[in-house]
């Protein structure tokens, strides 16, 4: 433990004591872990009033959920390792093995489940999630404890009985969700885990026998390997030792019993079990009765010790004698009184360590009643434990315990400093032992040989025992409990060296073979990540009374209720009765392909942009970082289409397993009613739930500023970015600020039309966050447009290539909008279909054969782009034309392009007289002017101004003259 960590621990002990505290002393890291010098490993910790140890299953708050405190939205994981990473903030970390709910598995993957297996039960089942989620989690995100039981996939999840006295939510796990393309695979290593508790039990037994006196013996004789690791040292944790074994044993007993119930084929091994238990129990009894002294040792030391011991003698009865043998070693002196034990140890350097231990008497419970005490992880047990005598004995020690513990903390460092040599010697012998353990396995089903199992199981033991021990105090007064537990020194668990890891792996395999018959044990430890750290997690399983089962089912109902909003019906247009007709003729086919909505197989002419966007997004997704990209370009240049294509490819990649999975959200700001609705839509897209804009904003703020281990990267496509402008620009600010937060994993691709939008409408602080990753989609050139149209018409001989070229050149000259080109071509097919235009004048037979020629296209272009105003003027009535003339005449008279109605009226009357017509009255002329205004040939003020109303022409005077010259009436 680093000094800073120690200081922090102290500070926390004073301040946020009730929240989080490491339990026990730091434990020895594994060899691999040793290179992280800042990390200090612990066996467990206390969070609030919940004690958590390695191997426990916990709910982890999902900061992305609407209600993080809702168990149903929490993630589930098994704690593999706990450590302090030595940093100032969020320093309480843990390594976890994730589990996923069935809802989180893609429905398509659920179909992978083999025929004949029970369908997954979403309310009860989990899958072990081996997808590459970060497994390093902030320990303080734990919500509560739960219980996960792994079984072979052939077992119906419903038939798995609940662990005994399990008062936390219980789940069954049959599958693991793993692979490059995630799939549901049956868990292969179930059987191995069945052995875990048994094995652990034996080892524990062994070590308990050792603990009082064998310290020096262990250090000197059995851990030579530890000599290599001089920096890491071992700590003696009396408290942990003290609490370690008895409780665990009780649980194991229950597991065995349950296994019996569930599975018939236990065979002969089962029969051995009770004996084993008895054997192992008896020495403990002896110890407890004899001394009431409990000295804690590092769990690894204990394990090593036990292994050595097993290796050498392989007889449980020997333990007692060993204890006796070790106890007279003079390295440590044990002073015990009624409630606590003080171990004074004289180290080689002459320092004297004094370690206070508190007696743990629950062992006696088993002895006297033969009735295991259930260990319940629930902080507040609802009923008194069936071991009243044990608790009553232990409770008086509590008050003293908390006081004394602080002093023992200070000792830890010293102890550690002492023992390096000893540890090394222990490690040397370590390697040989796992194999020898095998034999024990055969002798005794309850033995588990894997040393990695041992370590975890010991940790587990201590947790459970501590909790058990403190049941009484909790029921009396809650505060007592956490206070007392928090400063407990922790043992250091030496992690396996690489060499050792390899070995134990082989051990695992061997065990599979030899223990096939024991497949059906329902308890299981989990083997995770074989290559990395060989942790076999232990899971307590106990018989559950029916009452507890009822309670659990009722607790589960909300999850089903919560799931229902996901299945809400999607609003839909009424469905049609007749089937759609399929396009038949080449022209119809061409028209269907030319429709803008038709998705082309490829996006021609945007290869470079595609590449850029793809590499940007892919890189961000790979790195798990966030980033912004701004894409600009005039409408119809394929911005959105390109990004969508990129996303389509990325999604495909992530399905193939080449990319981490990510969630994609597309939000078009013009489909929002106001900018702040963005948050609502984003939140809805992420979680499926609807909240108000302000709430969504704060939820997203929380989500993107807190790192969450299991969060998928989010790719957010924001179209029509300029519509998100607000006076405060808070929407845009947040949008671009979040990707830069650590752990947000948000990639934003923003699309708008104007290239200089960031500079024009954004404040500096916003445009700075947007960054300089920008891309501009240039308008299509005529060759590109030609290629686009041609590629869509591939294989349909409908168009004259010259006609396509004409369209492309026209559109490229006007806007470069691909939509226009497609629309013109589509219209041309219609014209070709209906009109009786003469065939193309071209001589070439190929061109003559084309259904759509130049003339059709030309007419389509004219329809779309010619101004209708000349034609509109020509179709006006005579009087209306005269009014236009009068306006032009007034303009000419005054030289100003604006005229008062009264003056125009005068001009108009004289024009009428000139033409020999009776001039209509003012009201009629006003009506005509309004009529022209409604067509926007003339622009006027409000007609309330009457004769003072000012008129302007909406077309040039030349156009008016030109239009009127050629009209028959005007002639």
């Amino acid at each position: 433990m680093t000094i800073s960590a120690r200081i922090r621990q102290k500070v926390r002990g004073a301040g946020s004591a009730s929240r989080f505290a490491w339990r026990g002393k730091p434990i020895q890291p594994s060899r691999k872990e040793r290179r992280f010098e800042d990390k200090t490993f612990y066996r467990g910790f206390v969070l609030g009033s919940t004690g958590i140890e390695e191997g426990d299953c916990v709910f982890i708050r999902n900061s992305d959920a609407v209600d993080a405190e809702d168990v149903n939205s929490c993630d589930i994981a098994r704690v593999v390792r706990c450590y302090d990473n030595g940093e100032r903030k969020n320093n309480n970390r843990m390594q976890v093995q994730w589990y996923s709910r069935i809802e989180d598995v893609k429905p398509s993957h659920l179909k992978d489940i083999q025929e004949g297996l029970c369908p997954p039960d979403a309310s009860l089942e989990l899958v072990r999630d081996e997808r590459p989620f970060p497994t390093d989690v902030d320990a303080e995100t734990i919500h509560s404890l739960c219980c996960v039981k792994e079984v072979v996939c052939g077992v119906s999840p419903r038939s798995v009985s609940l662990p005994w006295e399990c008062q936390v939510p219980f789940f069954v796990c049959r599958f693991r969700y793993a692979g490059k393309r995630p799939r549901l695979l049956p868990i292969e290593n179930v059987q191995e885990s069945q052995q875990t508790p048994a094995k652990r039990f034996v080892i524990k037994t062994a070590f308990i026998l050792n603990y009082t006196a064998c310290l020096s013996w262990i250090f000197h004789c059995t851990f030579p390997l530890f000599r290599r690791n001089t920096r890491r040292s071992l700590a003696v944790d009396l408290n942990n030792i003290e609490t370690a074994s008895p409780k665990r044993r009780m649980q194991k007993t229950s597991e065995e019993e349950m296994g019996k119930e569930n599975l018939e084929e236990k065979g002969s091994k089962l029969t051995n079990k009770p004996e084993t238990r008895k054997e192992s129990k008896s020495p403990l009894k002896a110890i407890n009765r004899a001394a009431h002294n409990e000295i804690a040792l590092s769990p690894s030391l204990k394990r090593k010790a036990s292994e050595t011991e097993l290796c050498n003698e392989r007889k449980k009865s020997r333990l007692a004698s060993e204890y006796a043998e070790n106890s007279h070693k003079e390295m440590s002196r044990v002073i015990s009184d009624e409630d606590a034990t003080v171990v004074e140890r004289h180290t080689s350097s002459g320092r004297k360590l004094k370690i206070l231990c508190y007696r743990k008497l629950s062992d006696g419970v088993i002895d006297t009643k033969g009735n295991p005490t259930p260990w319940s992880p629930e902080p507040k047990p609802t009923k008194p434990l069936p071991s009243p005598d044990a608790n009553s004995k232990s409770s008086p020690s509590k008050s003293r315990c908390s006081v004394a513990k602080n002093s023992s903390i200070k000792e830890i460092g010293k102890i550690r400093a002492l023992k390096d040599n000893e540890i090394d010697s222990i490690l040397v012998s370590d390697d040989n032992e796992s194999e020898s353990d095998m034999d024990d396995d055969h002798e005794d089903k309850n033995c588990k040989s894997s040393s990695k199992n041992t370590k975890v199981s010991i940790l587990k033991d201590s947790t459970s025992d501590t909790l058990n021990n403190s049941h009484k105090p909790i029921s009396k007064g809650h505060k007592n409990y956490s206070e007392e537990l928090e400063p407990l020194p922790e043992m250091i668990t030496p992690k396996k060296s690489k060499k050792h890891t390899v070995k134990s792996k082989s051990t695992v395999k061997k065990r599979f073979k030899c223990e096939e018959c024991a497949l059906s044990f329902s308890s299981r430890a989990e083997l995770r990540d074989h290559d990395e750290e060989e942790h076999d997690d232990f899971e307590p399983i106990s018989k559950t009374p029916s009452r507890a089962a009822k309670k659990k089912t009722s607790a589960r109902t909300p999850s089903q209720a919560a799931a229902s909003p996901h299945s809400r019906t999607v609003p839909k247009m009424p469905s049609r009765t007749n089937p759609v007709m399929q396009p038949g003729t080449p022209l119809e086919l061409a028209r269907a392909r030319l429709h803008v909505s038709a998705v082309p197989d490829s996006l021609p002419c945007r290869e470079n942009e595609f590449q850029d966007v793809y590499s940007f997004v892919e890189g961000k997704l790979f790195d798990g970082t966030g980033g912004c990209m701004y894409i600009s370009g005039v409408p119809g240049t394929g911005k959105t289409a390109t990004v969508r294509e990129v996303v389509r490819l990325l999604l495909q990649c992530s399905q193939d397993g080449d990319l981490p999975s990510f969630s994609f959200l597309e939000i078009n700001a013009l489909k929002l009613t106001e900018p702040h609705q963005l948050w609502v839509q984003v939140w809805k897209g992420l979680t499926g739930s609807k909240v108000t804009a302000e709430h969504a904003s704060s939820l997203l703020e929380k989500r993107f500023s807190t790192p969450a281990p299991r969060r998928d990267p989010t790719l957010l496509l924001v179209d029509e970015l300029d519509m998100l402008w607000t006076r405060k620009q808070d929407v845009m600010y947040n949008l671009f600020d979040w990707p830069s937060r650590p752990g947000s994993k948000l990639v934003v691709v923003a699309i708008a039309n104007t290239m200089d939008l960031p500079e024009r409408i954004m404040k500096n602080r916003v445009s700075s966050r947007l960054g300089l990753t920008r891309m501009t989609f240039q308008p299509y050139t005529h060759t590109q447009l030609q290629e686009i149209v041609t590629s869509r018409l591939l294989g349909i001989p409908a168009f004259d290539p010259g006609a396509i070229q004409l369209v492309s050149r026209k559109v490229a000259a006007l806007s470069g909008d691909a939509r226009r080109a497609l629309d013109i071509c589509r219209r041309a097919t219609e014209i070709a279909e209906t009109s009786k235009l003469p065939p193309s004048p071209s001589k070439s037979p190929l061109k003559r054969a084309a259904l759509v020629g130049m003339l059709h296209v030309d007419q389509a272009i004219r329809e779309m782009f010619t101004s209708p105003k000349i034609a509109a003027i020509r179709s006006c009535s005579v009087m209306e034309q005269l009014i236009l003339k009068a306006v032009v005449a007034e303009f000419i008279r005054t030289g100003v392009e604006e005229a008062q109605f009264g003056r125009v009226m005068d001009q108009f009357v004289s024009l009428c007289r000139f033409d020999g017509m009776k001039p209509p009255c003012t009201s009629v002329v006003m009506m005509l002017v309004n009529h022209l205004t409604s067509q926007r040939l003339i622009l006027t003020e409000h007609s309330r101004n009457d004769i003072l109303m000012r008129l302007r022409l909406n077309i040039s005077t030349d156009d008016v003259s030109y239009a009127l010259q050629s009209t028959p009436e005007a002639r």
Binding site: P571, M573, K671, D817, R819, K869, H931
Partner: protein, 437 residues
């Protein structure tokens, strides 16, 4: 030709008269289109009708999304054309496969109302029944989700008719138009967006991205200019009594009359004048309504005189009518103002100037002269009639000195006064002679 006495000797049956008027008024209503005129419009604009029919038909049968604008001046028959086309599609049995959503820019003045109306007309209320939509955002996302939920093959095609399309362009951000056009350009539920507008420059109102999503399909209806083939035909159609009319004999006689009226010089003059004035069919309709209104039990048949009278009614000048109802003192003021307008060439003046002119006149005239407050009161009433309007309303001066302008040209005043037989001779002389020296 049509002598009033010839057949009106028959006792006029009030029932027949009522039925006739009722039927013809149905034809002549200004909004909406009756069957006859719809057919007429389809005949006149046959190519446009064909284009439109194909367009909508493809949406209905092929599930192809489209968008188009139907642009024409008022009273040319845009709505009639669309209704006719929809009627034809209905006859072909294609329309039943789709839904028609009619929106009007005058009724649905913002996107929220339009969205609610769309939801109602698309019969999506069933889906929405459980939800209570309070906010605009919910409405919009609901509709978009609905459209997105359907595909070309499965969803019922919807035809959106946006009357007064230009008014939709003024909605905030053009959200509705953007989304409709965007839906029409993406693989969603098939929709056909058809905008009707009289504004020729309506495309310029669209925002560039909305414009880009619009297919630029514009159908222009150009009012046919020919008098005899079109206008006269329309006239006859509007007055025609169908075969289904219950009183067959009367209908026969009536239709004959209408034919003969169409050849009458007086009627032709009236119609021609109307035609040169405007081609808006609504003006013609209101003229004919005026004619119909003159039918009574004595005159069961239309006469050319009725048309002259109706024309006079339709074309009368509002200002002239106002001036006719003025008192002598107010007329004095009007004449004074006319002189001032002439002198100052339309420049504004104030009450004091008018009052001085009036004083000059009243000194010489035999007419009763009034106190200044009385004159001011009369002037005030003229302002109330908006014959006189203040120039700048923001300026705060005493009302007597407020600058005003007359809303009639001097020529108009002279014309009106000359048509008033009851005008006192003093006033007549003053009006015609110009300024009182």
């Amino acid at each position: 030709m049509v002598s009033q006495g010839k057949k009106s000797t028959q006792p006029a049956d009030p029932e027949v008269l009522q039925a006739t008027q009722h039927h013809l008024r149905q034809n002549l209503q200004l909004w909406g289109t009756a069957g006859i005129s719809g057919e007429e419009v389809l005949r006149v604009y046959s190519s446009e009708a064909q284009h439109l029919e194909e367009l909508i038909g493809r949406t209905l049968s092929l599930g192809e999304s489209n968008s188009a604008l139907l642009l024409a001046p008022r009273g040319t028959g845009k709505s009639a054309l669309v209704d006719g086309v929809l009627g034809q599609l209905k006859d072909r049995g294609v329309l039943g496969q789709g839904l028609v959503v009619r929106l009007s820019g005058l009724l649905h003045t913002d996107d929220l109302q339009a969205l609610k109306e769309i939801t109602r007309q698309l019969r999506l209320e069933e889906a929405a029944a459980k939800k209570v939509f309070r906010s605009f955002a919910e409405n919009l996302s609901f509709l978009l989700e609905s459209l997105r939920g359907g595909s070309k093959e499965t969803a019922k095609p919807a035809i959106f008719l946006l009357d007064e399309f230009d008014l939709f362009c003024h909605h905030r951000n053009q959200t509705l138009l953007y989304n409709l056009f965007d839906a029409a350009q993406s693989a969603q539920a098939p929709i056909c967006v058809l905008g009707l507008s009289c504004r020729l420059d309506v495309l310029e109102l669209l925002e560039k991205r909305v414009k880009s999503r619009f297919s630029h399909r514009q159908i222009h209806l150009q009012a046919s200019g020919d008098f005899t083939t079109h206008y006269l035909h329309t006239f006859k159609t509007l007055l025609h009594l169908p075969h289904s009319f219950p009183f067959k004999d009367f209908a026969h006689v009536w239709n004959e009359d209408v034919e003969s009226l169409a050849g009458d010089d007086v009627v032709l003059d009236v119609l021609r004048r109307q035609h040169t004035t405007t081609r808006d069919v609504r003006v013609l309709k209101s003229l004919l309504v005026m004619c119909l209104a003159q039918l009574d039990e004595g005159n069961t048949r239309l006469t050319p005189q009725m048309f002259s009278r109706a024309e006079a009614l339709v074309t009368q000048d509002a200002r002239t009518n106002t001036v006719r109802g003025l008192s002598a003192l107010q007329l004095c003021l009007v004449i004074a103002m006319k002189h001032l307008a002439e002198v100052y060439d339309g420049e504004p003046f104030n009450f004091e100037m008018v009052y001085r002119e009036y004083c000059k006149f009243s000194l010489k005239s035999s007419m009763q002269s009034f106190e200044k407050p009385v004159v001011f009161k009369a002037f005030d009433q003229l302002m109330g009639l908006e014959l006189v309007r203040p120039v700048d309303q923001t300026c705060r001066v005493q009302r007597e000195y407020e600058l005003v302008q007359m809303m009639m040209t001097p020529g108009q005043v002279g014309e009106v006064l000359s048509q008033m037989p009851s005008l006192p001779t003093d006033l007549q002389r003053w009006a015609s002679m110009g300024l009182v020296a």
